[in-house]
């Protein structure tokens, strides 16, 4: 069967109060679907994207040379099998790829929201995803799946709507950020906000782009997504040209690669969205947020959980995933945990790996096959 890729925009004509207290009267969510919803609507899968992700997870448009960001995982016969499942992936609120966010216009003023767009938390995202779920008339997710910040949304789902998720897959995530994680995010934000073109966040209305700051933020982020080993293997100390230049231009391949990644990112990402996403990461702490209520929430939860980590991931290393496992074990939940050997660093969750894919496939198959 084909992927059956469909793209649409859900206009949610319903006001939502965000964690910050800000209220949005209406909002739009851009989403894609793959596969077909079965008759009893029991095969819907929600994919939550990470920091720089969007709704385009799988398949390819005619104009594109690259498929969606998780195309190796989602599709006919792949671990998230679109022959069996109806897969939904959306661009989160506050994103910059078609959903309401800093780079869309405020209907009241006719101007870009820019920095005035309220900060959205992981909990807010889960609430907006619930609106999309109702909009699509899906009664229950058979799976909620995400990596990194997406994994945090999957975890949040299991606390926030414990009876609406049958299975939850949390990959390369953490129950909250460490001081080091927040520190990296802060440097990224400072890079953006110190760019003279940032204009206090109003750059879109002033026809400017804080491209230098955003590309720096991305370069920094990118380093934390790779492992020392993978960088060594891919670039080593290889020179761009045959000899050292003795100036401050690019000498090493790694420098050239990072600059390229930074520049590429600027062309399809909004700086204010980057600020928002990193704040959302920093604020994420559901165990603290739910407090004593977590116990009752988890008691209602009958999901099966799969937690996956990667050995070389130093952004959210295996011990952070183990914290999630420990929490679920404490609450006597059905949980499985796999620590995948990989030198891919944090980005390993996006890469093909036999053990990783087999674990995903076997866990998903046991629920999707009768």
């Amino acid at each position: 069967m084909s992927l059956n890729l469909k793209t649409a925009i859900a206009k949610i004509e319903h006001s939502i109060e965000l964690t910050s207290g800000a209220v949005l009267q209406t909002f739009e969510l851009k989403y894609e679907t793959y596969g077909n919803l079965n008759e009893d609507k029991s095969n819907a899968v929600l994919i939550c994207h990470a920091l720089s992700g969007n709704h385009h997870a799988a398949g390819k448009y005619d104009k594109d040379d690259k498929p969606g960001w998780w195309d190796n995982m989602i599709g006919p016969g792949k671990p998230i099998d679109t022959n069996k499942s109806y897969v939904v992936c959306l661009n989160n609120l506050g994103g910059c790829h078609g959903s309401t966010g800093p780079n869309t216009k405020d209907k009241k003023t006719g101007k870009y929201f820019g920095i005035k767009f309220p900060i959205v938390t992981v909990s807010d995202w889960v609430n907006t995803q619930k609106f999309l779920m109702d909009y699509l008339q899906i009664p229950k997710w058979s799976f909620v799946i995400g990596g990194s910040l997406g994994g945090m949304q999957a975890l949040q789902w299991s606390f926030q709507y414990p009876t609406l998720v049958e299975n939850c897959i949390i990959i390369a995530a953490a129950p909250k950020l460490t001081a080091q994680n927040i520190a990296f995010n802060e440097v990224a934000r400072q890079a953006i906000m110190k760019d003279p073109n940032w204009c206090e966040g109003d750059y879109l209305n002033q026809n400017k782009i804080p491209d230098k700051g955003l590309s720096l933020a991305r370069m920094l982020g990118h380093i934390t997504y790779l492992s020392d080993d993978s960088m060594k293997k891919k670039f080593g100390r290889d020179l761009r040209e045959t000899e050292l230049k003795f100036n401050y231009d690019v000498d090493f391949e790694i420098e050239s690669y990072l600059r390229y990644q930074g520049e590429k990112f600027v062309s399809n990402f909004d700086a204010n969205t980057y600020l928002l996403m990193t704040k959302s990461l920093d604020y994420f702490d559901p165990i603290k947020d739910f407090g004593d209520e977590l116990k009752t929430r988890l008691a209602e939860n009958k999901s099966s959980f799969l937690v996956v980590s990667f050995t070389s991931d130093w952004r959210f290393p295996p011990k952070r995933s183990r914290e999630i496992v420990e929490l679920l074990l404490d609450h006597k939940k059905n949980v499985s945990y796999a620590e995948i050997k990989s030198n891919g660093g944090h980005d390993a969750f996006l890469m093909e790996n036999e053990d990783y894919f087999d674990v995903m496939k076997n866990f998903i198959m046991r629920s999707t096959c009768a």
Binding site: S304, R322, V325, E326, L329, D330, K332, N334, V335, S336, Y337, A338, E339, I340, K341, D355, D358, V359, N362, F363, M365, R366
Partner: protein
Amino acid sequence: MRIRVDLELISSWIEENSKVLDLGCGDGSLMKMLKEQKNVTGYGVDYDISQIKLSLDNKINVIQLDLNDGLDDFKNDTFDYVVLAQSLQEIKNPEKLLKEMLRIGKEVIISFPNMGHWSSRYQLFVGGRMPVTSELPYAWHNTPNIHLCTIYDFENFCKENNFTISKSSITSRSFFDNIMIKALPNFFGRVALFRIN
């Protein structure tokens, strides 16, 4: 290597509807058996990713952990039984692990291959070679088994650590062995099973 007979014996010691943690669970067949036959809940634990995959395929909860790192992820008294079947010999610090098992479970069930069995003694005594048996199929240089023991060794180990043995069963697959086991368990028993409190 786990053998079916051993797992069936362990299963017969486990009450229905109990909570079980199976350490070194392999492909998860014990937990699967317990889940299907005794409505048992719980988790398997293994370090080998290929076993994790098989356990997932067997529809059991499985946690990938190195038993040598301890069992910090599990709280005190969370399980009715903590099982360690045919893995004791691979553990770096058996004393530490047993204490951990007793911390998180009400009862501990341990099975291990008996190095005192006559076939092992024969291989070393007459053949002058390190024993290789069906339970321990490795050569000396590639074996993961670093702490092999006999039934006497294990009983002595329990005594030294004040572990109380509340039940035991010594078995062999051979008819002849099983006739003689009562008289000389450490000579005719191939597999020993102990329950410790």
